[in-house]
Symmetry: C2
Subunit: 384 residues, 2 copies
């Protein structure tokens, strides 16, 4: 196990009817910027529950945060936060709204050009407090310090991290996910699954607590994910998916172990060029990457095959082949195709994707930094 330093101070309020707790979490003296996306929270009663709980507080609303939150939109919210002397930002939505809230919270108190937080990695020294009501289990943003923002004008998708932007609290009510479209449920499950894999499927460093926890999350997502699609009003299933997705990227399972993240980096280019959903790109890239990196990841692939998929064979190559197949079939069972061709992307696109990776300096990805652009090309070829 490597050395690590870990802190996660977000209070999780989990379960049915927890949105009511907002009345205690936010005091009447606090001026609230209520940030949300489209109008879905108005049709599933979440908006009504939130505003009812906040009736004693002064609330300014800002809607229209996009699925990939746009820098320009967030700067308008930042102007309001500054002008109105907002005390706390309440994000109601999925990862994009929460990521957006994090940027606004940091930008509102940033001296200088807030674009530098994203473009130059300028050090965030303070931020407005953030709370959130999660409506889509997927990204883990409700309980970490990470944020991804896109500048639509220049097509730049950039990230920042800061301990200052951990939400102070996150309300996770599984019932608010009942009305999600199946595609979003599937995307969320696959996103969480790949978050775990990026922190697990590397090489062994004798860290059994982290390994067992990661395997526990994978087993949970495999068992519960399909049920979330077939039985959408099942509280226990929704609760288990929601809690697994939070635990998948709240930092815990990645402490003291190597991490990969090449699947995410290659996937980002597919989204940027062809507009696929983030989770679709992960479902395409991960099985191909497992195949390409099968010797580097051999020990963990065998562990994954036996512990997660309960596979048993004498032939280790067959074990690895089947572990990869099972991963692919799981994504497809969730309704997410796993081949570039399934989305109409042909071999000609690969050079374009590789040159974008080079342009973005993605020259040495993965836990061994051995995924060069040439290796990324081979991964994409395996993903056709």
């Amino acid at each position: 196990m490597f050395n690590f330093s870990y802190q996660n101070s977000t209070r999780i309020l989990f379960g049915q009817d927890q949105i009511k707790q907002l009345a205690e979490l936010i005091t009447p003296e606090q001026k609230v910027l209520l940030l949300y996306g489209g109008g879905s929270i108005k049709t599933n009663s979440v908006y009504q529950q939130v505003t009812a709980a906040l009736q004693a507080a002064e609330v300014i609303e800002f809607s229209g945060v996009e699925p990939n939150p746009n820098f320009e939109t967030l700067m308008r919210a930042t102007d309001i936060a500054r002008r109105e002397k907002i005390d706390i930002i309440l994000a109601v939505g999925g990862g994009s709204v929460i990521d957006g809230a994090k940027f606004v919270a940091a930008a509102a108190l940033f001296e200088g050009d807030a674009w530098d937080i994203l473009a130059k990695g300028a050090n965030v020294q303070q931020a407005l407090p953030i709370g959130c009501v999660l409506t889509l289990p997927a990204t883990g943003s409700e309980s970490n310090g990470n944020s991804v923002v896109t500048r639509y004008e220049t097509k730049q998708k950039l990230a920042f991290s800061s301990p200052w932007v951990y939400p102070q609290f996150a309300i996770l009510d599984p019932t608010v996910t009942y009305s999600l479209p199946p595609k979003q449920v599937a995307n969320g499950v696959v996103d969480a699954f790949v978050h775990v894999m990026e922190q697990y499927l590397t090489y062994p460093v004798n860290a059994p607590v982290q390994d067992r926890f990661a395997e526990g999350l994978l087993l949970t997502l495999i068992a519960e994910g399909p049920k979330a699609l077939s039985d959408p009003q099942n509280y226990a299933v929704r609760a288990n998916v929601m809690w697994a997705a939070t635990m998948a990227l709240n930092g815990l399972i990645g402490q003291g172990v190597p991490q990969d993240w090449a699947t995410h980096m290659i996937g980002h280019e597919i989204t940027a060029l062809f507009g696929l959903d983030h989770a679709q790109t992960l479902a395409i890239v991960l099985p191909a990457l497992m195949q390409q990196q099968r010797s580097q990841k051999r020990e963990k692939l065998l562990q994954y095959a036996t512990r997660v998929w309960q596979l048993q064979h004498q032939d280790e190559e067959r074990l690895i082949d089947e572990a990869i197949s099972h991963t692919r079939y799981f994504f497809e069972r969730m309704g997410i195709p796993t081949r570039l061709a399934d989305y109409g992307i042909q071999a000609e696109a690969i050079e374009q994707l590789v040159s974008k990776l080079v342009q973005h300096n993605m020259l040495a990805l993965g836990e061994h930094q051995d995924i060069t652009p040439e290796v990324s090309r081979r991964i994409l070829q395996l993903a056709l």
Copy 2:
């Protein structure tokens, strides 16, 4: 899964050479009360590392905190904390020293008689900041808000909990555990194991993340515990035991699930009357309690048998019998006998123990509150 609210803000600094970080964690302006127990930290270099890192700060030492910290001793430390206007308490030791630091931190800022914190459950509204350097993995106190204090004068062993006494930081350097006596290593492993069992071996509430995490900790302790005894200088083994013991009682695995804790309550009476180590009492009570409560715990016992001990039989009663035997043998393999008779305690003692439980109002223990004094008597008879 039940609703829950969870927050754990302790920063964990894990690994070799992390004690040096004290120089950053404590600023030169802070006045430190350095709390420790006997002199063992002076013989294993921990004291030297701590004082070297703190050379810029003003440090007042208070040693002599007992293995079961004594209220009178802690009140002397509290007087010093008040008189010297201490800014932060640094606990260097195991669970007892950290528990003691929590009481001192709360008592120093408590208005009124600090005994009320323990005896009357008086609400702790503030506390001095606490940091700790853990030397004995066992209790989880380094990353939770719980404290147990004993008043030697009256033989009262009382607990309090408060969000104010979570350590701000906890330094976990596995190398400082190399020099622990084998008995303390064994006690720590068994203590952590039973902490997990108290939160796991109840009844199913469809909470697979919590179950898988608990099983992961049990599997880790079963695999690594004996190695910590046979190969005491093995860094990876020490690290895995240390991280498992922290995760066992930092609150995470118990969120949203029923909890038992009857083994602890019955065990406390054995310690109080006969002076056995806490972990010895747990090793005695747990197998007997599993046997006595086998029908109430049936589903979880079967899950434990198959997932933790990898047992396979058609006969479910045999599965449960073997799961209990394996648990007992694990404790004995750690060098901790599991029968009252092994400690010279005979059947006559049982009435005495049961009457103490009655005297302490332990009338309805366990996840179903069905462990009456009569059931406790049967458990103790099975433990002879």
